[in-house]
C-alpha cells in the first residue's frame, strides 16, 4: 500500500487545475489541446485511485468499474484529439496561424 488515497486525490486535483489553467491561458491551439489532455489524465488518476481503494472495501462496489471508465476515457480522448488536430490543420491551411487570439473573424 504505502501511498494513501488522499495523496492520489490531491495529485489528481492539482494536475486537473494545471491542465485547466493551461487550457484557459494558452493562445496556441495545440497547447490548449495539451491542457485538455492533462485534465483528462487527472480524471484517470482520480478514477483509478478510487477503484484501487475499493479493492479492500465492501464487496458491493465493483473495483473494476473505475478502471474500465479510465480505459474508455483514454480511447474516446484519442478520437476527440484526432478531430481537434484535423480542425487545427484546416484552420492553419486557411489562416496560416493557430493562435486563437488571431482567429477572430467572429466576435469570440
Amino acid at each position: 500500500m504505502g501511498v494513501s488515497l488522499q495523496a492520489f486525490l490531491v495529485l489528481g486535483a492539482v494536475v486537473f487545475c494545471i491542465g485547466l489553467f493551461g487550457a484557459l491561458s494558452k493562445r496556441n491551439a495545440v497547447s490548449i489541446l495539451m491542457g485538455i489532455e492533462i485534465m483528462l489524465n487527472a480524471v484517470n488518476i482520480t478514477l483509478v485511485a478510487f477503484a484501487s481503494s475499493f479493492l479492500h472495501q465492501q464487496p458491493k462496489n465493483n473495483p473494476l468499474t473505475g478502471q474500465i471508465f479510465a480505459v474508455f476515457i483514454i480511447t474516446v480522448a484519442a478520437a476527440e484529439a484526432s478531430v481537434a488536430l484535423a480542425m487545427i490543420i484546416a484552420i492553419y491551411r486557411r489562416r496560416n496561424t493557430i493562435d486563437v487570439g488571431e482567429i477572430n473573424l467572429m466576435r469570440w
Partner: protein, 500 residues
C-alpha cells in the same frame, strides 16, 4: 436487472443500433452511386426502420418490453422512448431541410454529410436511454464529435473552420470537467449506475453523505459540463460564434439536437440519479440563479443582433433559460409536473425551431444572405416561407394560443407551485417573455411591412418548402391536440420516478 445478455435486450437497443447501421449504409452508398437524390432518399426513408422499432417498443409488439438491459446500462422506460421519437423527428427534419443547401454550398459527397448526422442522432438517442455514467459519457461523445465535424463541414468557408475549432476546443474542455464530476461521484458512491447512486444518496444510513463536499463538487462539475451543451450562461460563449459560422442546416441541428440531448441527460442524472438532493437539497438555488442569468442575458443580447443566426443563438440561450426554470422547480420537490413541462416544452421547441430554421435555410439557399435586414419583404418574395416562419417565431415568442405559449405556461406554473422560493424567477421569466416578443416581431415586421429593395420571387428548394409545410402542420396539430401530447408525455414524465 438480469446478469445475462438476451435477445430481448437487443430489441431494446434496436432503434439506436438501426440508426448507426443506416449511417454506415449511407456512407457505403457513396461508393456505388453519385446520385445525391438517391442517397438522401435512402437516409430519410431509412429512418422508417428505427421508427418502426421504437413503435414496436412503445406498443410492446413482440411481447412485454424489458425494463432494462445490458446490466442496467440501457433503460426501457417511457422517458427513453419519448427522446427516441423526439430525436428521430430531429433527424428527419434536419436531413430534409438540408438537402438543397448541402447540394449547393457543401462540396462533399452527400453520404458523408448524412452519415455524420445519423451517428450523432444515435448518440443523442442513447443519452436519453442510458442509466449509467460511463455510457452517458460515451453517448455524449458520440453526439459531440460528429457535431464538431458538422460545424466545419463547409470547407471553403473560413468562418466554418473557425467555428469548428472553437467548438472542438471548448467542447473537449467541458467534457473533461464533466468527467471530473463523474469521477468524484463514482468515488463517493462507489458505483456508476444511476439507480444505485440514487439508492446510496437517499438511503438513511448514508445520511452522512448529505453534507459531503466531494459529492456536491461532483454534482456541480457535472452540471457545468452539461451547461456547455445546453448553452447556459456563463458557459454560453461558444453558441453565437458556432451558430453563425457553421453551415445553416448544421446550426439547426445544434440548436435542437444538442440542447434536447443535454437536457435528457441532465434530467436523467439529477432526477433519476437523485443527485438533485445532494448536500441538503440546495442545488436548485444554483440552477435558479443560472436560469435567471441565462434567460435575461439571452433575450437582451438577442435584441442587438444583426445576423439572424446569431439572433437565433441568443434566442436559444433564452429558451434554455426557461427550461432551467422548469429544472429548478423539479429539483426542489422532484415533481412530475415540472418534468412534464420540460418534456412538453422540448417537443414544441424542436418542431418550431425546425420551422424557423427552414425559413433561414430557404433564404440562405436562394440568396446566400443571412442578415436580419435581408428578410425585408419576404412576405412578398416568398409568401409561404414567410408565413410559416412567422408562425414559428410567434410560437417561440409565446404568443397565445400557440403551443409555444402553452408549454411555457406549464413550466412557469410548475415553478409557481413551488412556493415563494421561485416566485421571483417566474416574474423574471414573464418579463423576459415580453422582451423576447420585441426581437421576434421585429423579424415579422421586416418580412411583412418593409418594402424590399428587390421584388423578384425567390426560388426556394422543394425540400425546404416541404420541411416548412410539415412543421407548420406539426405546430397546428400540437396546438389543437395539446391535451393528447400532455397525456402521452405525462407517462414519460412519471416513468422517471417509478423505479425509486
Amino acid at each position: 436487472m438480469t446478469s445475462q445478455i438476451t435477445i430481448e435486450q437487443f430489441w431494446l437497443l434496436s432503434p439506436e443500433l438501426s440508426v448507426v447501421l443506416l449511417g454506415f449504409l449511407v456512407l457505403g452508398l457513396d461508393l456505388l452511386t453519385k446520385r445525391r437524390g438517391l442517397v438522401t432518399a435512402v437516409a430519410i426513408i431509412g429512418l422508417a426502420v428505427p421508427t418502426f422499432f421504437s413503435i414496436s417498443l412503445a406498443t410492446s409488439l413482440f411481447g412485454p418490453r424489458p425494463t432494462s438491459g445490458f446490466f442496467g446500462m440501457l433503460l426501457g422506460d417511457q422517458y427513453s422512448l419519448f427522446f427516441q421519437f423526439l430525436f428521430l423527428i430531429v433527424a428527419f427534419g434536419v436531413m430534409l431541410a438540408s438537402y438543397g443547401y448541402a447540394e449547393k454550398y457543401l462540396r462533399v459527397t452527400p453520404g458523408e454529410y448524412y452519415s455524420v448526422i445519423l451517428f450523432s442522432v444515435a448518440g443523442m438517442m442513447l443519452m436519453g436511454s442510458t442509466g449509467e455514467l460511463i455510457t452517458i459519457y460515451i453517448a455524449l461523445e458520440l453526439t459531440s464529435i460528429p457535431l464538431y465535424i458538422l460545424a466545419g463541414f463547409s470547407r471553403t468557408d473560413t468562418r466554418s473552420a473557425e467555428a469548428a475549432i472553437k467548438y472542438v476546443l471548448l467542447g473537449a474542455m467541458s467534457s473533461a470537467i464533466l468527467l471530473y464530476g463523474m469521477a468524484l461521484t463514482y468515488g463517493v458512491t462507489g458505483t456508476t449506475d444511476l439507480h444505485a447512486i440514487a439508492a446510496v444518496i437517499t438511503s438513511p444510513q448514508h445520511g452522512i453523505l448529505s453534507g459531503n463536499l466531494m459529492l456536491l463538487a461532483g454534482a456541480v462539475f457535472m452540471f457545468v459540463g452539461f451547461g456547455f451543451k445546453i448553452s447556459a450562461v456563463p458557459f454560453h460563449m461558444w453558441a453565437p460564434d458556432i451558430y453563425e459560422g457553421a453551415p445553416t442546416p448544421a446550426t439547426l441541428f445544434f440548436s435542437v439536437g444538442s440542447k434536447a440531448a443535454g437536457f435528457a441527460a441532465i434530467m436523467r442524472i439529477f432526477v433519476f440519479g437523485g443527485l438533485a438532493s445532494v448536500s441538503g437539497n440546495y442545488l436548485w438555488v444554483m440552477v435558479a440563479i443560472i436560469a435567471a442569468i441565462t434567460m435575461t442575458l439571452g433575450n437582451v443580447i438577442a435584441l442587438l443582433q444583426t445576423n439572424i443566426k446569431r439572433m437565433m443563438a441568443y434566442s436559444s440561450i433564452g429558451q434554455a433559460g426557461y427550461l432551467l426554470v422548469g429544472l429548478a422547480a423539479v429539483m426542489i420537490h422532484n415533481t412530475a409536473a415540472g418534468i412534464l413541462g420540460l418534456l412538453t416544452f422540448l417537443a414544441v421547441y424542436v418542431v418550431t425551431n425546425i420551422g424557423a430554421f427552414a425559413g433561414i435555410i430557404g433564404l440562405a439557399d436562394a440568396t446566400g444572405k443571412e442578415n436580419i435586414r435581408d428578410f425585408d419583404g419576404l412576405g412578398r418574395r416568398s409568401p409561404w416561407i414567410a408565413f410559416g416562419m412567422g408562425l414559428c417565431l410567434l410560437s417561440l415568442a409565446g404568443i397565445p394560443p400557440q403551443a409555444g405559449f402553452m408549454s411555457k405556461l406549464f413550466i412557469f406554473f410548475a415553478a409557481w407551485q413551488q412556493g415563494s422560493g421561485l416566485t421571483w424567477l417566474v416574474v423574471l421569466g414573464l418579463l423576459n417573455s415580453a422582451i423576447a416578443i420585441v426581437y421576434y416581431v421585429n423579424v415579422l415586421w421586416r418580412m411583412f411591412a418593409v418594402d424590399p429593395a428587390k421584388r423578384d420571387r425567390l426560388t426556394i428548394p422543394g425540400s425546404v418548402n416541404l420541411t416548412m409545410t410539415l412543421s407548420v402542420i406539426g405546430i397546428i396539430a400540437l396546438t389543437i391536440a395539446f391535451g393528447v401530447l400532455l397525456t402521452h408525455v405525462g407517462t414519460s414524465a412519471n416513468s422517471l420516478f417509478t423505479l425509486h
